[in-house]
Symmetry: C2
Subunit: 211 residues, 2 copies
Amino acid sequence: MSLDTETIGEDVALLEGMRTARAIRRFKSDPVPPELIRKVAEAGTFAPSGGNRQPWVFVAVTDAGRRREIAAYYKKAFDAYIEPARKAAADPGFPSSRRKAMEGAIHLAENLADVPVHFFVAGWTRRGQEQPQSIFPAVQNILLACRAVGLGSCLTTLHRAFGKEIDELLGLDENQLSYALLPIGWPRGAYTKPLRRSVDECLFFDRYRRP
Amino acid sequence: MSLDTETIGEDVALLEGMRTARAIRRFKSDPVPPELIRKVAEAGTFAPSGGNRQPWVFVAVTDAGRRREIAAYYKKAFDAYIEPARKAAADPGFPSSRRKAMEGAIHLAENLADVPVHFFVAGWTRRGQEQPQSIFPAVQNILLACRAVGLGSCLTTLHRAFGKEIDELLGLDENQLSYALLPIGWPRGAYTKPLRRSVDECLFFDRYRRP
């Protein structure tokens, strides 16, 4: 059976948007209009959440002093995280695709203070429990909305190493926490298809089979 | 300042797709071509993940016997979950929008066995830890891809109440688990804008302020 799924009247732009929403880690310094921040945040609100509780709280940090503080925490967390990867990358057999991603991550860590918007996706806990299943779908919508309006971003969670300090800086209540930090700005690079394993390695019908 | 963000050359279809990806809980019984399942799964693979590790494993259950088993577990978990909501809904002051959502949830729980595809988004743990931040962005991509090709779905995690039993049924390894169950089929209802709080209640600049 070979069904031409292209003829089903699908929304090609929506699929193509997802296909090309590569992580952007290098940004121009131009500011981002608050209206666009509001627009990408709004896309986040259309994500699903358990019991439609919509536990998200978005904090878009644009103040330069605050961004410097956040970047300092991020750099500290990053240095601890990247050390093993740096050592692995010294090996000549280290894949060049991973080296490129690592260079992007290093660039971001060293220049985070200059990224115009530090967009935090925070949320309410529920009975003391984190609710990632009701937060990360909104995160993905925001990343896709950035792509849709021409902004760049990427998903980071490293700031959690200093979660307490950063949540205090963001003015969050005790029963709220920041799950993700999305640096947002105008991309220096182009949106392209990200490097991924083929779906045929990930998809199983009826039952998982060890490869 | 009133910038007309509509003129920035944004990808309206992508934004509109997110805006109208309402949870679908009522399905036709028509089967779903495996090519379309592959297509929505592929959209999942374009999501970001920590260190680009792509920990996801997709298991699309179409076998009727297995779907009955899964539906039986789901119903058991659902009945325990819905009881407090049913009691609350008996109050005449219970909001009609929430009553409608509850009716949809009840319909799904009672008819899950007949939904043609039980699409599980599973994934590898990392150092024994769950990685929801690297799974739920893929979940959201899959939901949006369903919407893009005209399929319906919704995000459920209730099956986790019987996670051990279901992961075994799915043939998952010990260091894998199923995070989400997305029932997929052709929608009976229309895609519409879901009911959400205004973004202006959720978005804060620089610092959260208690309303």
